[in-house]
């Protein structure tokens, strides 16, 4: 079943990517073409086949010690904030979460 324009708009909303109407058309065409490419996946009988989420053989239980160390990676505040477009004092800053519609709760 092909994805509709509304489906694609919904995915874009979810993925937080604003698309113009024109981009939406292009994206819709692309997505359906790409999904066609994926069909071989659906033609398999995969009963009893385990998935391989990690191509790492038997590697498991990778953990680190709960240790503070002198070469720790904690960043100085100025470095931590250096790539942020907006900060205030010691914090990162974002605009209003709810905007005007949020109501007071």
């Amino acid at each position: 079943m092909a994805l509709t324009r509304d489906d694609v708009r919904g995915i874009a909303d979810y993925a937080r990517i604003a698309l113009t109407e024109e981009e939406l058309d292009e994206m819709c065409a692309y997505m359906n073409e790409a999904i066609d490419l994926l069909q071989p996946i659906r033609e398999y009988d995969l009963t009893d086949v385990e998935p391989t989420f990690h191509p790492i053989g038997d590697l498991s239980n990778v953990m680190s010690g709960d240790e503070l160390n002198a070469h720790g990676r904690s960043l100085d505040l100025d470095v931590a904030l250096s790539n942020a477009a907006a900060s205030q004092g010691r914090s990162f800053r974002v605009p209003s979460i709810l905007g005007d519609e949020g109501g007071d709760r």
């Binding site: 498991s60 680190s64 709960d66 109501g103």
Partner: protein, 501 residues
């Protein structure tokens, strides 16, 4: 709105809890080596990993995994050797990667249970006939635990310009990532709880268990232990679940109880008036003693969960689990039973002491120092110590020995504790220096008794005519005559012996 016990006669409440506990006793965060801290300046303990910077990768903290396995063992869960971390996506800047690393369908700990002993006033919330109760009205409620999974905590956000730091109306928000990546375990119960008191007790028992394990400071006030309550109601005798609401912002045991109580009564009122309960998240306002709607859930959120490719799978060995098991200390229930059996403590006192690892450690130290006065130590621990600030175990032992020997009264004991609290002073010395020690020398006391009986002719006559209460007056006279150094219990005994003779 009707009262809870009326509502619960007609309706059955179905309550489930989701409890988040930060593993505050660890040194570092869940997936990086940043220091865990509650009170540093904003963005002090942040690194590429917990800031979600491009190219950074997570490595799980072994102690955190050990802690959750211990939590599972202490709550009778089955430890699942094979599990994955998953990525749970949602766009909100308190999670620096815009996904939370958490566990999928299989959690480290699954299918456990805790048995609650519901006693006293609280047991009355459960209507008779809905559970097997003992003669004194108490009952045991087995509560199943669905799972405990490992995840990471989010950053703290401060909302500016909206009044009281609230999000609505705020013009901007500030983010502090110190807390982001803190190891967090989430326990989910089955909907087996039936009263607000059971929910409160469950939460209390869980807190006692985690404190005993030493995996968290379990502070509801500071948010290191947080609880969401799901509640729905159904007509007694029906099986189908009602629509549930979710309660947030619960930061005390009392809030948990009161929010659920309010919500049960509110839902009953809505349904009884022919209304509809909506599936929604509600916020408890302790000052107004009510819940208000935060948001309505129209559709289930789609978090695009999938196994995190950056984290290797877990396949915990038997040895790993057994090493964790060996580190699980004696848990509160077992400790309570031991106190009852070994020391003959009252069950409620034993439970109270055993519930807090710091208190029980203190108790055992004091009991060891005063082996002949253990019951008195327990009595002092339950009734006097909670009001003090910095007592030492040997001071409690010393004081309890004095009490056990009837050398001081309970009232005096309280006075002595106030003096020695926060000092290195020996209660025995304080008692001696202040001349508080009560004489238990029967010969000396007998002389006083004889003297008092000699001059209180009227009272002696009243006693012999049947007014036994008058002995209290006579004890008082004896105490006065001995300037408070005589033991009132002995005076009482001696007076009665002579009066009955």
């Amino acid at each position: 709105m009707r009262k809870l016990n009326e509502v619960l006669r007609d309706w059955e409440a179905v309550i489930g809890l989701e409890v988040h506990t930060e593993l505050t006793t660890l040194e570092t965060k869940m997936f990086c080596d940043c220091r865990l801290s509650h009170d540093d300046e904003p963005n002090t303990n942040v690194c590429p990993v917990c800031l979600g910077m491009p190219g950074a990768l997570p490595v799980p903290n072994r102690k955190a995994i050990e802690s959750i396995v211990m939590a599972g063992l202490a709550t009778n869960c089955q430890i699942q050797p094979r599990s994955y971390f998953y990525r749970k996506h949602y766009f909100y800047p308190d999670m620096s990667k815009n996904y939370q690393t958490t566990q999928g369908p299989v959690a480290f700990c699954m299918y456990g249970h805790l048995d609650l002993e519901v006693t006293g006033q609280g047991a009355r919330e459960r209507p008779d006939g809905t559970v097997d109760k003992d003669k004194d009205g108490s009952y045991v409620a087995p509560i199943r635990i669905l799972r405990i999974h490992m995840e990471e905590d989010a950053a703290k956000m401060v909302h500016l310009g909206g009044g009281e730091g609230r999000i609505g109306g705020a013009s901007e928000s500030l983010i502090d990532y110190n807390r982001c990546g803190t190891p967090l375990i989430e326990l989910v119960t089955e909907p087996d709880l039936r009263t607000p008191e059971e929910a409160r007790l469950f939460m209390e028992k869980l807190r006692q268990t985690f404190l005993t394990l030493g995996i968290s400071d379990c502070s509801l006030e500071n948010g290191s232990m947080r609880c969401d309550g799901n509640v729905s109601i159904r007509r007694r005798g029906t099986k189908e679940f009602g629509t549930k609401t979710e309660m947030k912002n619960i930061n005390s045991f009392k809030s948990l109880h009161d929010a659920l109580e309010y919500e049960i009564c509110r839902q009953a009122e809505v349904l009884e008036e022919g209304g509809i309960v909506y599936q929604e998240t509600r916020h408890w306002e302790p000052s107004k003693r009510r819940t208000v709607v935060m948001r309505v859930k129209e559709t289930a959120d789609d978090y695009r969960m999938y196994p995190d490719p950056d984290l290797a799978p877990f396949d915990l060995s038997n040895e790993f689990v057994e090493r964790c098991r060996a580190r699980v200390p004696e848990l509160p229930d077992a400790k309570r039973d031991r106190y009852v059996k070994t020391y003959g403590l009252k069950r409620t006192d034993a439970a109270q002491i055993a519930g807090d690892p710091a208190v029980s450690r203190f108790f055992e130290e004091a009991a060891e120092a005063a082996p002949k006065a253990v019951a008195t130590v327990a009595n002092v621990m339950v009734n006097l110590v909670p009001a003090t600030k910095a007592l030492l175990a040997w001071q409690v032992a010393s004081l309890s020995s004095l009490l056990a020997q009837d050398a001081i009264t309970f009232a005096q004991a309280r006075e002595v504790l106030e003096v020695v609290d926060g000092t290195e002073l020996d209660p025995q010395k304080v008692v001696d220096e202040r001349g508080m020690r009560q004489s238990t020398d029967t010969d000396a006391l007998s002389a006083t008794v004889d003297e008092v009986l000699g001059r209180c002719v009227d009272q002696v006559r009243q006693y012999r005519e049947g007014n036994k209460k008058v002995v209290g007056f006579l004890v008082g006279q004896c105490m006065k005559a001995s300037r408070g150094t005589g033991n009132p219990k002995l005076f009482n005994q001696l007076l009665r012996e002579r009066l009955e003779a």
